[in-house]
Symmetry: D2
Subunit: 319 residues, 4 copies
């Protein structure tokens, strides 16, 4: 290969820029050029791209977001648009593609590969919900943002002896809630993967009050229910008044953590290696502490599983 392309797709995550940089530099190291495709698959269809040289990825390793922009592109599900994009790419001498994004983005990469355009997926999403990899790029940063926010909320919770509900991201995956809850010492954590037990939540709050600890923090993943809804339930069932904080979009931004940047470097470089070795339809990931690549299909056929031992541990530590 003489020239490949890279794009970012789906929800953005901190570290995507570091991954783009790694793709460009690793490819350049092997004498391969990299085109940066703008706006995800939208730009792929239209051939909206630009050559990324070493200088163009200078000074981005520490930046949140993605300099290539991202988008969700429903029309890319259609063969017609995929083929149009492949044509544009081939005309520009592009022979392979690195897609940085979530599992939705992986489907596109698989389709392209099947249609003869070698593509590789790099897991970039704050949700940490891609099957086949222990971590995704952006999760660690989001986690730290959430934990720092809860630390702030705890200041005021402690001072006023209030109970707080903190709603965090995670529609289907409880990783952010789980890790953040454990790291922040939350009294209860509600995740989509586990039935919550409202009586247990209530009893933990009351138990705390009994031992003169008058504040508590409850983390709820948005996929379980809205923070306000939980507040209503607690009020109705046990007359417990809580305040609700919805962390929202601050979870997606920010300068990537060291860990996310290193992961982005490893994954970006691995993706280039896979392409240059003539393989495709692969996703890169980390498993047993080892960077590796696996069939893109596995990312759909399997389901991400949160580490539920953390859930148990959290319950034991928040007695």
């Amino acid at each position: 290969m003489k020239r490949i392309a890279v794009l970012t797709s789906g929800g953005d995550s901190p570290g995507m820029n570091a991954a783009i940089r790694a793709v460009v530099r690793k490819a350049n190291f092997h004498g391969v050029e990299v085109m940066g495709v703008y706006h995800g698959y939208e730009g792929f269809i239209d051939g909206k791209m630009e050559l990324l040289d070493l200088g163009s990825v200078g000074g981005i390793i520490q930046r949140g977001g993605t300099k290539l922009f991202s988008s969700r592109c429903p029309q890319f599900k259609e063969d017609e648009y995929q083929l149009q994009g492949i044509k544009k790419m081939k005309e520009a001498g592009v022979e392979g593609l690195v897609v940085i994004g979530g599992d939705g983005s992986y489907r596109g990469a698989l389709e392209l590969t099947k249609k003869g355009f070698p593509s590789v997926g790099v897991p970039g999403t704050i949700d940490n919900d891609i099957p086949g990899t222990e971590y995704t790029i952006g999760f660690d940063t989001a986690l730290n943002t959430v934990v720092e926010s809860i630390d702030k909320i705890r200041d005021t919770a402690t001072s006023h002896e209030n109970s707080f509900i903190v709603e965090v991201m995670g529609r289907d995956a409880g990783d952010i809630a789980l890790w953040a809850g454990l790291a922040a010492g939350a009294e209860s954590i509600l995740i989509p993967e586990e039935e919550y037990d409202i009586d247990d939540i209530i009893s933990r709050i009351q138990h705390g009050i009994a031992r003169d600890k008058k504040h508590s923090i409850i983390i709820v993943a948005e996929g379980v229910m809205a923070g306000n809804e939980l507040a209503k339930i607690l009020k109705e069932k046990a007359d417990i008044t809580t305040r609700v904080s919805v962390l929202g979009h601050i979870q997606r931004g920010g300068s990537p953590s060291a860990r996310d940047r290193v992961l982005a470097g490893l994954f970006g470089a691995k993706a280039v290696e896979v392409l240059l070795e003539g393989r495709s339809g692969r996703a890169v990931g980390i498993k047993n502490h080892q960077v590796y690549d696996y069939d893109l299909e596995e990312a759909f056929s399997n389901k991400h599983k949160a580490d539920l031992s953390l859930y148990t541990l959290s319950k034991e530590l928040s007695i």
Copy 2:
């Protein structure tokens, strides 16, 4: 005076601990003991307090919240409870009081003074809304928290080319919204002090889009309306889709900024000086860059005014 007391009251703010520390150390420097009253005026009524020595205020200068806890205490408006508290204090040899809090808390301090118990107010609130002082303790920290949050939101706004509405604290005072909007380069800022012009807001967004800038940030103080409400108006009036982020209680917490800690040091020390000089019924503040004290009554009879030149400037810079 041989012994004074200090309490924190109303909404907590970062830097309250630094102010407590300053009161204790400044008083100790002059050979005066300090009792720490717990839970604001509630503890004052019940005489719930403890001697604060040098060691007890060690390691708190950098901590958010207040180690003395805070509360809102409606019953303290009644003479009976005020007198009960004064009695408790006098029994414990306490001869004066420093109240760290907002202007609601100042009323209590004035009442106590009128009833013969010398009290001085120190402005501690993130809202920066106390008449007579350019800055309150906690404002600078809250401001930085808001600005850092908007920086994160901008990462994702830029990557996805979305418009964001960020709802910040400020029921009656627009200071947080105003300063944060200017510091974060927001396209529009809505504050309680000024009528907003929905057509101007819309035209700024559309103007940005016209010059190929597809994201924008709108800051709204909670006192104007909820972020969701504004989103609805923009959708209905101009079919503009926005995302809403409500920053909420993270604005109250966090380690105080350098500025807030210095202010806390200056104000806490000044309050002790005022008491030791035999004066009372005073509030400390900063005016024309000078720490001074003024009549507590001024804090109610006057109304805080946000610096509206910042509002004008913001409009000029966000063209």
Copy 3:
């Protein structure tokens, strides 16, 4: 005026980008174009500059450093080079200049004005040492960086019960040391403006130990002496072992604080106003909490004075 220029000069400081942005946008608001001159006076001499439109200053308000680069340019002291630069500027239709930098940079601005090229100075330096203004752009950010660093050092100092010497920037001005020392609760502060009393420093450490407080923090401005030198003195005079931390260049970088960004906005806009009003040879500053402009010459004829009441206060609070 139809077109002006802006440059950054001398040591860089956080908020310079926000000031550049304010100059561009304020000028644009008044229909005036702005050229960005690269590498300070070096680029001025060579006419190395570029038109800065609204988009070119997008997304820089939160960035440390300066997108126009900075340099120290000794040759600019010579008339010949000043005149050459003015010629280049006039050829490009540039009619005035905003210089963002320290007082060294102000001399150039004054020379240019005297030679018929209207120039205005904006105080950008972390040292806070420009006569005529209470604050300079970058000081607040540097201060927070220093205080956060000391907070970290205190963690380990407390855990190991060590004494630490922290060397901070400030050759002639003690502002960083003074404010940071007060904000971080340092036991002793050494600044260029005041003779230090080594016996007092020693006795404070020993006094702390006597009351079972086994760690202490001493801040020394580099202008007084190197941290290592102080450590040697303490060892020799009183057999006190200390560890030394030289904060160094991290003090110059980082995303500007909210305060510095607001100041940058105010100062940048004011500088443009001054030029458009046909005035020049002026510096902008803040005095008595009011943005104003004053004769550039005052910035040399006067000497910056640190607020020594903070010094006294710090001694009283660190008993």
Copy 4:
């Protein structure tokens, strides 16, 4: 077991408090009491300890340093003192010990076990240099502190087009230098594990200059040489002027990252489990992404190996 003890030993690291909390709460969950031993093995010898109940470890999960203090205790190498400590412990009904610290601290734990006092080691050190575990508590936080510092240094390096040498901790282990260098996009990284090639370092700087990139960052682990020494070599060999920043003790402090807190929770809990299962002389660690325990002896007989694939990757990405 009805009662165990916990102590922190050696250099402190962020997350030690979170580990103490986990030990206490996990033990309490199983109905076992925990005594907190002060000042590491020093306190063990003297029986200086206190019962830690749930409340006593409240609000410490986010704090840097260690609330139990730490120290290096050379005399603990002697049997006599070990036996004295064991006696004190047994008198107080303590039946087992969790030691949080580096591998130096592990030796003590092994000696105690051999003398009949069951002890377990938890890896707490920023250096990440304990054989048998992929990560140690504190490494991730230190790494982020270093990377954030380099980000700040880069701001000023870029603005002034300077080259910087950043000296980081790591006497024998290059993990901090390696990970931070990769995460910060350093041009060269010098670690104790690999011979450095001064010509390669020089050529990378010159190569950068040739492609108009006038700043660069070189990371050197203290175990290789001092930053100043490297600066001298670069000056002498290639007339390259660099600035040096020694990050020093800020690397040890700070609120622990989310990752370090989770690790602390997992490790602290695992250590208690091991003791309660009647096993001892074990260290807890993480291997292949799995928390496990292994023979304490392995931590000495083996040597920690940095992941040198990161070294190769860094060279490829910093072309």
